[in-house]
């Protein structure tokens, strides 16, 4: 994943979880992030699909368990 895509993905995470610009999101995990509920997950999926023009099916969405896992998923999709 190139630097621009990484920045875009990090911006999405900051926007969805209402974090300040520049906040480190690399360690975000669903299990330890109280704001990461089902609605936030849907918002995350929608934002990523829109930003990167990809379609995420149910299996992909289950794989989005952290920032790292999401980034790796998008890498596997060729981003």
């Amino acid at each position: 994943m190139n630097a621009q895509t990484t920045d875009q993905l990090q911006d999405i995470f900051r926007a969805v979880f209402d974090l300040p610009a520049g906040a480190d999101v690399s360690g975000l995990r669903q299990m330890h992030t109280s704001a990461w509920d089902s609605l936030a997950h849907v918002a995350l999926v929608t934002a990523i699909e829109s930003e990167f023009c990809v379609s995420l099916d149910a299996a992909d969405q289950l794989q989005m368990t952290s920032y790292t896992a999401t980034a790796l998923l998008l890498e596997e999709r060729g981003l």
Binding site: R29, A58, L62, T68, A69, L72, L73, E75, E76
Partner: protein, 366 residues
């Protein structure tokens, strides 16, 4: 004496720490993740001298074995070993003048074959005074008969091999396919005839058919699929229970390896037949525990989540990260770490430790 010998070991980060405790070499390149992350190796490197121990094992246990007297040892480090790693250790006698013999040893990655260490040692043989009385015990303290064995099924798999490495001389591996150092048992239901006459102190059942990924409603040959994925594994577990009843020492235990796939909602039931079969372990363990108790034998099941190796070794980085995220620790256990937990279960010889399914998933969520 055989001219060649080979064995495999799995090395975990905990092994590196154990070696540091033993040797006093706490160099941060080997023991400190933060320090190692700032080096070109990125992760802690296994002590080079750890390999000397593997050559010692080759000499003392295989080439030549019991009467070994080591004269010299040489190592050349080709590339660093970064735990966790599965190592293949191979030795060959290349010179023997009747008094002194020389063995060349290679230590390679068990999966890729990449060479880590070239080494060699020279040995002669020590003599034993047969007129003196034998020591009562030469291994770890045990209440078992000295020739009792711990059977490990599926010993060519990632977990089975790690369990066998952990048990060392206490364990005897069985495998469906012929493999060096293992007892070939093509059909586990016929295991009794294949394993010789030694008593059995425990059976660790790691063997299992490869998981499916076929929806039940799309199965073409339902009978065949159930036979392969459900009926056969259940019959094998019952056969192992019978084996323990007939050949087990007092307090012997059958350890069944369960899976969190048996838990509700796991992975949206993506491996349905595997899920179905693994879900039978919990009741089967309790039934066998009741039946085996009549002969003072036991049955315990141990459940793990995704293990970082074995049948999961081909997981993509993304899927591996997803599984790690399902655990509060954020870590997946290596086969060696799981084997350590199985050894912990084996160490509990209480009559109370029977009929239980012990969840050692680190509280992984479905």
């Amino acid at each position: 004496m055989n001219a060649r010998a080979a064995f495999q070991v799995t090395v975990s980060p905990e092994d590196a720490i154990a070696f540091a405790k033993l040797s006093g070499d706490w160099n941060p390149l080997h023991t400190n993740e933060e320090h190692a992350a700032r080096t070109t190796y990125r992760r802690p490197v296994l002590h080079g001298a750890f390999s000397a121990g593997l050559l010692s094992r080759m000499a003392g246990m295989h080439l030549p074995g019991e009467d070994c007297l080591l004269h010299s040892l040489r190592l050349r480090f080709v590339r660093p070993i970064i735990p966790p790693a599965s190592l293949a250790v191979e030795g060959e006698v290349v010179a023997d003048n009747g008094r002194l013999s020389r063995v060349e040893v290679s230590i390679s990655d068990a999966g890729t074959g990449a060479r880590y260490v070239d080494g060699s040692y020279e040995f002669s043989r020590h003599e034993v005074d047969e007129t003196r009385s034998q020591p009562t015990s030469v291994g770890p303290a045990s209440a078992e008969p000295s020739d009792a064995q711990i059977l490990v099924t599926g010993a060519t798999g990632g977990l089975g091999r790690a369990v066998l490495d952990r048990l060392g001389a206490r364990g005897v591996g069985t495998s469906r396919t012929a493999a060096p150092g293992l007892i070939n048992v093509p059909d586990l239901e016929q295991i009794d005839a294949a394993i010789g006459s030694r008593p059995i102190s425990a059976i660790v059942h790691c063997a299992w058919p490869a998981p499916d990924n076929q929806p039940l409603t799309a199965l073409g040959n339902i009978e065949g699929a159930l036979e392969y994925s459900v009926a056969a594994p259940v019959r094998q577990m019952i056969s192992l229970g019978q084996l323990l009843r007939n050949r087990g020492t007092s307090n012997a235990v059958l350890v069944l390896i369960g899976s969190t796939y048996a838990y509700p909602g796991r992975h949206n039931y993506r491996m349905p037949l595997y899920t179905l079969a693994k879900s039978l372990i919990d009741p089967l363990c309790r039934i066998l525990a009741v039946e085996l108790a009549e002969g003072a034998r036991r049955c315990v099941a141990v459940t793990f989540d995704v293990i970082d190796g074995g049948m999961n070794k081909r997981l993509s980085p993304g899927v591996r990260a997803m599984h790690a995220d399902r655990t509060p620790s954020g870590k997946l256990p290596s086969p060696a770490e799981v084997a350590e937990q199985i050894d912990w279960v084996l160490a509990n010889r209480s009559f109370l430790a029977s009929g239980a399914t012990i969840n050692l998933s680190g509280c992984a969520i479905p």
